[in-house]
């Protein structure tokens, strides 16, 4: 199923939690220019799969490759340096710091510039310019000086995205970036994601079916740790197994 030239290649991944087979022989890939959506009911194992792709979880078996390089044994930081940018289902942000400080941290990380001890980060134009650009793109310019703890849920979701943007990655891996955004916020962020695929392909885990069918070039359906179908949106919409397993009972 995977072919050469894929930016992300996952082959035969397995992960077991006690008696639960959370990932069951999963293979998928991601190509330049596409959004590949991963859908499935709650507890299907989507976040677990993302964890193994990003390096936070170690698979029991299988292989993960980024741009042809086997990264199965590599830690999260190593994969990030290879160009994998992930967003978290539950925001992972420095709550006591300001929005700008968070994003500047991301820029410094991307530039391998964290081992500098003397120059104030917020007075370094090389860090500030990309940080401000990412804030502008996610509509957070007005919140630059706000402490993250004081942000609304929607603003935190946008900051999650900004943190991924500043990494200038080769691929995005996003775990429910639209969760809890409401109709307007969701529509706005969907437009942003739409423009993003030309910069780097996106593996998108999302429950919002409107967004998924609008954005995705391909959709894979995960049920109980297994991929039960992969294909273009129209084929998935018409797939009887998918409708029964997922869209029918748990759909929008």
């Amino acid at each position: 199923m995977t072919e050469p030239g894929a930016i992300l290649e996952v082959t035969g991944l397995r992960k077991r939690f006690g008696a639960l087979q959370a990932t069951d022989d999963v293979s998928l890939d991601l190509h330049a220019g596409e959004i590949h959506a991963l859908i499935g009911p709650n507890g299907a194992g989507k976040s677990t799969l993302i964890g193994q792709i990003s390096g936070a979880l170690r698979p029991d078996a299988g292989r993960v490759a980024i741009a042809g390089q086997d990264v199965t044994a590599m830690d999260t930081a190593g994969r990030a340096r290879l160009g994998l940018a992930r967003t978290f289902q539950i925001s992972a942000l420095a709550m006591d710091m300001t929005v700008l400080q968070n994003v500047v941290l991301g820029v410094a990380g991307a530039q391998r510039g964290l081992w500098r001890f003397w120059r104030p980060a917020l007075r370094d134009p090389a860090l500030l310019a990309p940080a401000r650009a990412a804030l502008a793109r996610t509509g957070l310019t007005g919140e630059a000086a706000t402490q993250v703890a004081a942000l609304s849920h929607g603003q935190r979701r946008r900051l999650e995205l900004a943190m991924a943007l500043v990494l200038r990655p080769r691929l995005f891996v996003m775990d429910e970036p639209l969760a809890g955004l409401g109709t307007d916020g969701s529509a706005a962020l969907t437009r942003t994601l739409d423009t993003l695929r030309v910069e780097a392909p996106i593996l998108l885990v999302e429950h919002d079916m409107d967004a998924v069918f609008r954005l995705a070039d391909r959709i894979s359906v995960l049920v109980e740790g297994r991929i039960v179908a992969t294909g273009p949106p129209d084929a998935i919409r018409g797939d009887r197994d998918v409708r029964r397993a997922y869209l029918g009972e748990d759909g929008p």
Binding site: A77, D96, L114, W118, A121, L122
Partner: protein, 325 residues
């Protein structure tokens, strides 16, 4: 930043003004108390980088404090007895800059060792590991007779600093104060640097740090090394103030006292340890004179801070930290 800056400046002026006044009023003991506060504040500033910014609750910082103390004691001991140092055939020294360099280097190396062995664990396990290393060093000092064992080492004359008469209480105070201010200034720069941001972020969200391609362990290790080096420098000054070093500088009670200084003053606040040390030394002096049980009052003050004023004294005076620069 505004209000905290004013509080910080007031603390700096207070710590400088009291001994200047005492000098004028002819009260050298007050100068000694202020010197003690400045040196303990310096140790606290070192600890605060690890504990406050890094979130690394070390119950073993007495190791670095005592190591600095013994660096002073051992070098001065060999100098005053005209005996060479045991391992290298070098003479001792009575020069503070050399002693400080040895203390800083020793503190950094020891922190690198302890950090490398304990920073992979976190929470209570980290606290227990640092405590265990502290106890090991304490018993090592108690049981090795070469440098006084349990009784410690006394120095006949305070060590010297080029251009100063360190026997003059005010001059020694000003030296300690200058070191404190220089280190606080350097800490402010470190905290605002990319490294400082990353260290603070590693405390708040380690997963985020991984996601931007950095490894929390290495950041924490470097912070721990800087922290240990600063606390060791304070230890060398502290031993010089007392002209005496003993295993008590290495005891877990000393580690606890350093934590008290940081917590009382304000965790992760730049001048927190200054406020904490001034408060501790003042309480110790006045309440210690009234009753032996003054530490109960200290305990009550600590409890009040933990329960009601999370930001310590600085937090109570300056409000929540304003993160923006």
């Amino acid at each position: 930043m505004g209000r905290e800056r004013i509080v910080n400046a007031a603390l700096a002026v207070l710590l400088l003004g009291v001994p200047l006044w005492a000098h004028w009023a002819g009260e050298p003991f007050t100068i000694t108390l202020a010197t003690r506060a400045a040196i303990l504040a310096l140790a606290g500033v070192g600890l605060n980088l690890a504990l406050g910014t890094g979130g690394l609750v070390s119950l073993g910082h007495a190791v670095f404090f005592g190591l600095g103390g013994y660096a002073m004691g051992i070098l001065a001991h060999h100098a005053q007895t005209f005996t060479p140092l045991p391992l290298w055939d070098l003479p001792g020294t009575k020069s503070m800059p050399v002693i400080w360099l040895v203390a800083i280097t020793g503190g950094a190396l020891m922190a690198a060792l302890i950090g490398a062995l304990s920073l992979r664990s976190s929470g209570v396990y980290f606290i227990m590991l640092t405590l265990a290393f502290g106890q090991m060093c304490f018993y090592f000092a108690v049981s090795s007779p070469t440098y006084g064992g349990e009784d410690g080492l006394s120095i006949w004359v305070r060590n010297g600093f080029p251009g100063l008469n360190t026997l003059d209480p005010l001059q020694f105070f000003l030296l300690a104060y200058a070191v404190l201010m220089a280190v606080i200034w350097a800490m402010a720069r470190i905290k605002a640097s990319p490294f400082g941001l990353a260290l603070a972020a590693a405390r708040q969200s380690p997963a985020r740090l991984d996601a931007v391609g950095a490894r929390p362990f290495r950041l924490r290790l470097v912070a721990f090394v800087i922290s240990g080096a600063v606390t060791a420098l304070a230890g060398a000054l502290f031993a010089d103030l007392n002209r005496f070093v003993s295993p008590s500088m290495l005891s877990w009670q000393t580690s606890g006292e350093l934590i008290v200084i940081v917590v009382l003053g304000g965790v992760a606040r730049l001048y927190g340890p200054v406020a904490g040390a001034i408060l501790l030394v003042t309480l110790e002096h006045y309440l210690g004179g009234i009753s032996e049980y003054w530490q109960i009052a200290l305990g009550a003050a600590l409890l009040a801070v933990v329960l009601f004023a999370r930001g310590g004294l600085i937090g109570a005076l300056a409000g929540r930290p304003v993160a923006h620069d």
